[in-house]
């Protein structure tokens, strides 16, 4: 392996760049590849094209074809060979083009990625990151808008995270890559290029820990918990509620497995009301898990049942109907009303 190639993007020692989530991920990947020449990016169309969402744009040009691999079109192959590369000492970052295409790789993820460390009593580490653009709202055809994260958070041995803003995108992807455990990294695809979410990313800052949730907005009337694309929905709802004199607390989970629910418990003990928001179907999902854990830890603090605003228990509908399926500001506020009126 050749020595790491210096990226064409300069890194001032202290720099603030105004970035979208997509650009922040790209820069984060670049930094991770510069920091460790064992980091390789692999997936369909990630090289010359820069990925269908351009998240890996320019990486192959700068780091070469042996570090940014345009792979054959087979997801089990991507994950399965990444396992072998990890055993060899590499830190593969796999891109799954759309979440709906991850299932051919599900076997390798569940049977090998998640279990090799346990199987070998810690003798084999599997430091793989699997990047998964997920969620709806992009007017796509079938299999391009789903939210399968609960299927992975259910599997012991995997870690699952999701970013909701450019600052987290930049840091979390680097932290996931440097983690010694396999990480499923769910990216809110409809927000990749959102100019409204552009934020200054301070690349010399000290980031929050990867596996920690974060309170984004303080409030005392009710607590909203979300992750990925639903965080923005909750923040917008909280802004709207404020105009009606209601102060909502908003928590970005960030880590879906392990869950970091202490900030949620602390919040619910103050507000007495919890609404969880996710695009995933409700049944047997992360929102179910959060509700179960909160009722266990905050039983005497709850003033209303934990309410869930989620996708319905249906397959993702044709996208002309997705506005009915996806949690939006009004459905969140409706749930807040129900919780407060309970």
């Amino acid at each position: 392996m050749a020595a790491p190639v210096k990226s064409t993007v300069d890194t001032p020692t202290s720099s603030v760049q105004n970035l979208t989530i997509g650009k922040a991920l790209n820069l984060g990947l670049r930094r991770a590849m510069e920091a460790d020449d064992k980091v390789i990016v692999m997936g369909e169309d990630v090289g010359k094209l820069g990925g269908v969402f351009r998240i890996t744009d320019g990486l192959q040009k700068d780091f070469g074809e042996h570090r940014v691999l345009d792979t054959p079109l087979a997801e089990s192959g991507i994950i399965g060979t990444a396992v072998g590369l990890a055993v060899r000492g590499y830190r593969p970052v796999c891109e799954i083009q759309f979440e709906g295409f991850i299932f051919p790789g599900f076997d390798q993820i569940s049977s090998q990625v998640a279990k090799l460390h346990y199987r070998t009593q810690g003798k084999v580490k599997v430091p793989i990151v699997i990047r998964v653009p997920f969620g709806g709202g992009i007017g796509a055809v079938e299999h391009h808008s789903e939210s399968p994260e609960s299927l992975f958070s259910h599997i012991a041995g995997l870690k699952v995270v999701s970013c909701s803003n450019p600052v987290d995108a930049y840091w979390m992807i680097q932290q996931a890559i440097s983690a010694d455990d396999p990480v499923l990294f769910f990216e809110p695809k409809r927000l990749y290029h959102s100019g409204a979410l552009k934020a200054p990313v301070e690349t010399a800052a000290t980031p929050d820990p990867l596996f920690a949730s974060r309170v984004l907005r303080r409030g005392d009337a009710a607590t909203l918990v979300a992750y990925g694309p639903s965080v923005k929905v909750c923040l917008d709802a909280a802004t709207a509620a404020e105009e009606e004199g209601r102060s909502l607390e908003v928590i970005d989970l960030r880590t879906l497995s392990p869950l970091d629910l202490e900030p949620v418990f602390e919040s619910v003990r103050r507000t007495g009301r919890l609404i969880t928001v996710s695009e995933a179907s409700a049944e047997s999902s992360l929102t179910s898990e959060i509700a179960a854990r909160v009722q266990q830890e905050c039983f005497y603090s709850l003033e209303a049942p934990v309410l869930r605003v989620t996708g319905f228990d249906t397959p993702y509908p044709p996208s002309k109907l997705e506005e009915h399926f996806l949690p939006d500001l009004d459905r969140v506020l409706h749930a807040v009303d129900r919780a407060l009126d309970w």
Binding site: P72, S76, G80, G84, P92, Q108, T120, A179, D180
Partner: protein, 405 residues
């Protein structure tokens, strides 16, 4: 229609003898299959009768195998078979939860395993006890998997022998990735390839060839020119399904469709397996990989100790394959050429018996894993969630009082 058991082992008084003795069409076909010799393209250096046949292409790869080396291969196979039989017996006695017999596949495993250099890497499925032995893995370290006290405990880096993989075909992709890494690391080709280059070998069976992962492994290894030897032990049966259920084409011919060489070797010929695998590994180390080897062999015992082959194949088939036994042909060859005497064979047998006795003693005395093992090593990094679950459960257990559970 009589069941296969009735035909192969008629119950006394279970019906007219003529009916009981009439095989089903499937059984007839299965019986005919046993006469298959592997076809004209079968590479063989030692016939079932123990005759050494010359091969211009492969003789150079076993030129160093003198009488002493051949006695060594014989010893390897006898030890491995003896240990396999002992483990099988221990399962029958309830000491192992299950055993996966390798009986009949000793030559394929010892021959290919002995072809590896220490720096090469091997990815087994779950029947490769003979390969494990050649990689220096203590046979006793295999037992935990089958006594269900662990999922495999050997030092994978030291032995360069990956954990057993039970999901059919998964390891083929993992091996392809590893071999890609060898190539990316600059360990393929070069002027001193014979001294420094590395290759990977991956084991799977005829049933696995139907898996998508094996197909994808072929594709990946081919397009990345990975130094990977696909070693398919075609033992004719995937539990109850014959190879015909997996492929219309002889398996080694599939390689052509992927753009790399495929070769069929007599999997019961340890010399042939050694030579062909050495050739394939050398091709890979020099950058001409991947290569597919189909070792044409026979699973002489059940798929596992939970299986009952009498339900789906004729005992005639086994009887025919016994004439092609991988160990017997070496014994005959050694005896005929005066390369070994009865004392040698007796010594090897005595050593194998000691080997088995040690295995048995070890197995009977294996400690039970402690309950906290349930929670150990799920993650590489500390997991407060699991630590809390462990403490809660251990505290619950402690509530039953010391010495109880």
């Amino acid at each position: 229609m009589p069941s296969p058991e009735q035909w192969t082992r008629p119950e006394p008084g279970a019906g007219p003898a003529a009916t009981a003795a009439e095989p089903t069409p499937e059984q007839v076909i299965a019986g005919l299959r046993a006469t298959t010799e592997g076809g004209a393209e079968l590479t063989q250096l030692l016939t079932p009768e123990g005759e050494r046949v010359s091969s211009a292409m492969f003789d150079p790869y076993v030129a160093d195998i003198d009488a002493e080396a051949l006695r060594g291969l014989y010893r390897d196979m006898v030890l491995v078979r003896r240990a396999d039989r002992e483990a099988n017996a221990m399962q029958r006695q309830g000491q192992l939860g299950i055993w996966v017999p390798l009986l009949g596949q000793e030559a394929a495993q010892v021959g290919s395993g002995r072809a590896l250099k220490p720096r090469d890497m091997a990815f087994p499925s779950y029947r490769e006890h003979g390969v494990a032995y050649t990689r220096g893995v203590d046979f006793r370290e295999l037992l935990g998997i089958f006594r269900c006290t662990d999922h495999g405990g050997w030092d994978f880096q030291q032995h360069r022998f990956h954990p057993y993989t039970i999901v059919i075909g998964n390891q083929v992709l993992n091996a392809a990735g590893y071999a890609m890494g060898q190539k990316f690391d600059g360990k393929v080709g070069g002027a001193d390839a014979d001294e420094t280059a590395e290759a990977t070998i991956c084991y799977f069976g005829d049933g696995a060839t139907s898996q998508g992962d094996v197909h994808e492994g072929f594709v990946w290894a081919a397009v990345y020119d990975a130094p990977l030897v696909f070693f398919c032990q075609n033992n004719q049966w995937a539990i109850s399904e014959p190879t015909e259920r997996q492929s219309r084409l002889p398996l080694y011919q599939r390689a052509r469709g992927y753009g790399f060489p495929g070769i069929r070797v007599d999997g019961n010929d340890v010399l042939g397996c050694l030579a062909v695998t050495r050739w394939a590994l050398e091709e890979c180390r020099h950058g001409n990989g991947p290569v597919l080897i189909e070792a044409f062999t026979y699973r002489m015992d059940a798929h596992t100790t939970t299986d009952d082959p009498t339900r789906y194949r004729l005992s005639d088939e086994l009887e025919v394959w016994k004439h092609k036994d991988p160990i017997e042909r070496v014994r005959v060859h050694l005896a005929r050429t005066g390369s070994a005497d009865q004392e040698f064979f007796d010594e090897v047998q005595a050593e194998a018996d000691r080997f088995a006795a040690e295995l048995r003693d070890y197995c009977f005395n294996m400690p039970e894993p402690p309950p906290e093992r349930v929670f150990a090593n799920v993650y590489a990094e500390p997991s407060p969630v699991l630590e809390a679950q462990r403490e809660e459960y251990l505290s619950y257990l402690a509530g039953f009082g010391a010495g109880e559970h």
